[in-house]
């Protein structure tokens, strides 16, 4: 689970990369949901977005770990 990527001699924690990826994906996803006007069905958008981000980050971490092993 824990590990570091070396980018040009700088060690970047793996969690950071995973979070950055998850954030990018969540931005896209939110834009799509807004485009289809699905936020009408969401009670609390801030909470929903945070939850989506957590789920995405967890998925990416799992998938990443699966590929690495």
């Amino acid at each position: 689970m824990t590990g570091e990527f070396a980018i040009d001699g700088v060690f970047v924690p793996r969690v950071l990369i995973e979070f950055a990826l998850a954030f990018g994906v969540s931005l896209l996803l939110r834009r799509m949901l807004r485009w289809f006007r699905l936020y009408r069905f969401v009670w609390h958008a801030g909470l929903f977005d945070t939850a989506v981000f957590v789920v995405l980050a967890w998925t990416i971490a799992k998938v990443g770990a699966g590929i690495a092993s």
Partner: protein
Amino acid sequence: MSPRSNNLTFALANTSAVLGALFIAFALNLERPYWAMFTVFIIARPISGAVRSKGVYRLLGTTGGAAMALFLVPLLVQTPVLLCLTISGWVGFCLYVSLLDRTPRSYIFMLAGYTAAIVAFSVVDRPDAVFATAVARLEEIWLGIVCAAVAHSIFFPNNAATSINKRIERAIEESANWIADTLKQPPARTDARTYQRLARELTDLHLLYTHVAFETSDVPRARRIMQVLQERLSVLPVHLTSVQKALEAQRTRATLCPEVSRRIDTASDLARRIGSTRWASARSLERLSYQIDDIGKELTGPRTLLEQAITSRLVSLLKALAESRILSAALKDPVPQLPIDLQLEVSLSTRRPLHVDHGIALLSACAATASCLVACALWIHLSWPEGGVAAQFAAIGCSLPATLDRPSKVVRAGVLGIVLALPFGALYVFAVFPRIDGFASLAFALLPALFLLSLMQASEKFGGVALVLAVAFSGALALQPTYQADFASFVNANTAEVIGLLIADAMLIAFRTIGPRWNAVRISRQGWRAVSDLASNASPDAESWSLPMFDRLGLVLSRLRDGDRDFAMAAHIDPLRDLRVGFNLATLKRAEIHLSPTNQATLRSVSANVAAIYRRHDDRDVHALSASLDAAIGALTTEPPSAGRRTGLAALTLLQLELAPATPQNLSEETGA
């Protein structure tokens, strides 16, 4: 939610964000957890979108500044003088660039400037630590931003759109009632304050709307609709004062014909009705639009040009008001289709700039560079160990309040804040902290102070004070993973902060003391240049022209007191007149295409003369203009009746009223329509 419970939830969210940031910082053993702590306070706002946008800007700015320090320090650390010069120059340059942008985005550049100073000046005696310090600063600020953004988006967020919509509704309603009242009365002195309020409100809305892009995802993004709406609201006073002026002129020459006064009464009623339609349903506005067109019907029988101009401006006024209702409804829910012409305008609308002031930006940049250099000179020549802190605070003190008219007042408030927060900080550092043995007890000890500061920050009245106190308090605590209380360094660091701010204060007084009257003249001058550009430019974009002009109107009026009226008259300061002239010029250009080529040439000479007047206020130009206006009005009356002829004549008549009022013979000339 009531304002009180709003404030409580804000304070709750903010306190938990601060404690969360501190907890994570201690758990990860970060170098200076207090940086994360005051970042939370700095970006905390009662509106969730504003927290997130400020967070993003702060992140970008800090990254840029830290990168700059990382680049400069290893290069120049052997030559302290050169390093101080470069960093001070960078602070000034960034401040200059940031002041050219009046939206919240300007924070990026300002922060890039003084973050470089903070990082560079804190590592000059151990340059090998520059990377670690830059990374530490970035990490803590990231942490603070993420905690604040999450807490303020999850705990009962207030989104920007709600308050924007509320304010727009109020602005439209007030404008409508005020139009309804004013149409029936002669112009009053107090009107100027109403225009100022509206101008200020529009500028605020423009700035506030930038946060919507960062709002939680359920808020519709409709920047273009907002732009068109702003344009509609900003022309209301323009048309209204045109009508007022023309009415006044007409009344001094002859009695108003009963048909025109009947139409004015109808217009006043319609305005009140538009104001009271809460949810503008398409059908009710459609019915209204027929009635509006009725007002503009060509007056039958021999009527003066002025009366025709009055009716045509009444129509523009009511149309703008009705359309602002439609647009404000569309802002809440952009999906239902707008009327086709509005839809076209919305999809073609481009970003509008606000008024930009290069002079003030340059002076502020000079003040920042100079105060940074003075602090550095003291630091080097006195071999003062804490001089770096003074230089950092000199840079911060000049940067943060630079957008204000009297920035030194804020700097003095900052000094006061540090002095006031000092005893509390000392109480915590020397009496409470020695007894603390873990995060839980620290959190309990800090809780009352944090909650109180957050609660103060939520209120409009104490917001600024609370921010200063909170940042000063966090700085005084200087929470670090291991407890190190050293009374000497505590006092030294805080003294250096105060000295840095005092240097900033002195430099701001030296560079930025500008009388409000003179400032009004400067801003007006820029408005005149904009008018003459509009007049001489072949294809004007009047839509994007009106927002900066209207912004200037607010800026100028807010700087003139009631006693300055005579001064303003003498200096030709009348931003509302400039707006009217510009608007009539744009109308002329649009009418031009419907006319014959010779008449087009006459209209162009009118525009050229207006441009000349606005370049240099000279009486000879006024004579030339009134001659060309007479010629143009004469030429247009011979044209066959058409829409272009009517709007062109109205615009010419109103231009004559504004700029060459000495020739009344033409105005009473009758048009046999």
